[in-house]
Symmetry: C2
């Protein structure tokens, strides 16, 4: 109310009004030392009165830092994406860094344009998720640009980059083993989008579990999906119309498991009495469908939080890229039961 209409107060206005130099004002607003508390208070007070807010662009220019982090994702599941965002944001809280979101519709669009986008937005660093973070072209581009970046849930065989993962293969193995232990012998899998490295790893874990139990994986029991509900629904229909249909279906994520569940409902096949269905991720959706999904809890929120932590360290202190592997859990709910007899 004190400042002129249409014109924000600058550091100079505050300096003049407080009778100090602009450097002192700068010190105060950046919590730097070497200012008498008396003056500090005075400056703060004048700043308040003038409704002074440091100009972000000017500060960014002088500091050579935008305090902007970009989150790049493709959108297979709203619940998953939300977890990612909230996890990243949690770590960012109180740091002065902000989160910019970049949903990518078509990977081809971003290939070769990733770094330009980062420059055009002035990002200090980026968080990249599958499938982009496993795309060799994109990875190369990122690597040679020397931009700080971190990968979430990507391929764990690439270790020269910062990344946070879980052991997808082992998790899928455990999940399949659980289903096997319930007595199922005829088990199908709905595979995730093949450009996601995790989809392949989960398939491998599934197969290994079957082989370990003395069952040879059967092509007809491996249906390609795309990590979407719709693809799960379609895969479920195909699988359940099969002459010799499976007694258990393992979906590579919860959205597809929900789709399979819907296919079962359509065909009036009771779950888990006649059919067991399990998911992967334990997103919010897992509890919203009926019956609630037995699934693998992938700590997406924590992974994003941790990834952001690693990224921030890279940006601020230029440390070498770190890697972290978080643990998963088997969450037993009500969508899987003992194999039907006969």
């Amino acid at each position: 109310m004190t400042s002129k209409i249409g014109k924000r107060a600058t550091i100079r206005d505050v300096a003049k009004a407080a009778g100090v130099s602009i450097k002192t004002v700068s010190r105060v607003f950046n919590d730097e030392p070497n200012v008498r508390s008396e003056i500090r208070e005075k400056v703060r007070h004048v700043g308040q009165k003038l409704n002074y807010h440091p100009n972000v662009a000017a500060r960014n220019l002088a500091r050579r830092r935008s305090h902007l982090i970009g989150l790049f994702f493709e959108n297979p599941s709203p619940a998953y994406v939300t977890e990612l965002q909230m996890g990243a944001l949690k770590r960012l809280r109180g740091t002065g860094y902000r989160l910019l979101i970049f949903p990518v519709e078509n990977r081809a669009d971003i290939r070769g344009a990733m770094v330009s986008t980062v420059y055009a937005s002035g990002l200090d660093g980026v968080i990249v998720t599958p499938p982009m973070c496993d795309d060799p072209v994109i990875l190369d581009e990122l690597l040679s640009s020397h931009l700080p970046f971190v990968r979430v849930a990507g391929d764990n065989s690439i270790d020269k980059t910062a990344s946070v993962i879980i052991d997808d293969e082992a998790a899928a193995f455990d999940l399949a083993e659980y289903v096997l232990r319930l007595g199922h012998r005829r088990i199908a899998i709905v595979i995730g989008d093949e450009t996601h490295r995790s989809a392949g790893l989960r398939l491998m874990g599934f197969r290994r579990a079957l082989r370990t139990a003395g069952i040879e994986p059967e092509p007809a029991m491996e249906i390609q999906g795309a990590f979407t509900f719709q693809s799960g629904l379609e895969a479920g229909r195909r699988l359940l119309h099969h002459a010799n249909r499976p007694t258990a279906i393992l979906a590579s994520n919860d959205d597809m498991a929900a789709g399979v569940l819907q296919a079962a409902h359509e065909l009036r096949i009771p779950v888990p009495q006649k059919l067991s269905v399990v998911g992967f991720d334990d997103t919010a959706l897992a509890k919203m469908v009926w019956p609630q999904l037995t699934t693998i809890r992938q700590p997406v929120f924590e992974m994003a939080e941790r990834a952001t932590d690693i990224l921030l360290r890279q940006i601020e202190t230029g440390t070498a890229p770190e890697t972290a592997k978080l643990s998963y859990d088997l969450v037993i709910r009500f969508s899987a039961g003992e194999a039907p007899t006969g």
Copy 2:
């Protein structure tokens, strides 16, 4: 590869290398007229060779614009939030503006801090969603700050602000009327979070429909929810354990409807044979539950897109705040059927 390591090329480097003034380089990189195509090409080429990318902070400082839009929301439903984001982003594509997300956990935290947050992030404008956009304190703060802002899905009785809405009252009326026409007489409602204006409007529409049909609304048939799945589940349980339980339940959003559905499943009440359940919003979740929800389609994506459009116009040309009312649709799926006889 041509530029020195660790130092980005500046406009001056390009100008020197291309043998022109920095202003010409600026013209080329901003697609301004008055540059011979010959020179234009030369500058572009040199820019590429030097791996030149205009410095965003410098540009922002000179232009007095950050090209940053903030989206403030509270997170009742992941699917809803994702729609909002995607809608806003669609309009932003190609404009050079970026989207910053601000999930608000606790409204009290943001009350009185909204404008500071905007300044601290250097936002050019903000998109605000319920319930924040209906909070008088927050609205006042925004209004007196003269920051460009637009409200999505807020209270339609406030018309001096830019906003995009649907007619929640009429939509709820139509939805209830549809259920009444199916022969239901004992109809309950799960009310949304009361701090959302839309929750109240939907309740009013529901009541009006009942009265129009000659039914007096009954307190026991109006249960308070919070727009979350869990609150819908709990409300459903209460309603269905009721001695004289309803034959139809109207939930104020899809997440709560999914919760009600789950309660029905728990109690082995067949939907829609013995119980009809309808939702509101038509988010992605509506199709993922069983049976798929009959619901009101609120065009969240389009609303966000439109709101962003209005906001951009305010920012760029300083036009007066506009208002838009979009239409809703009744989407008939499989969760509501004729009232059970007897």
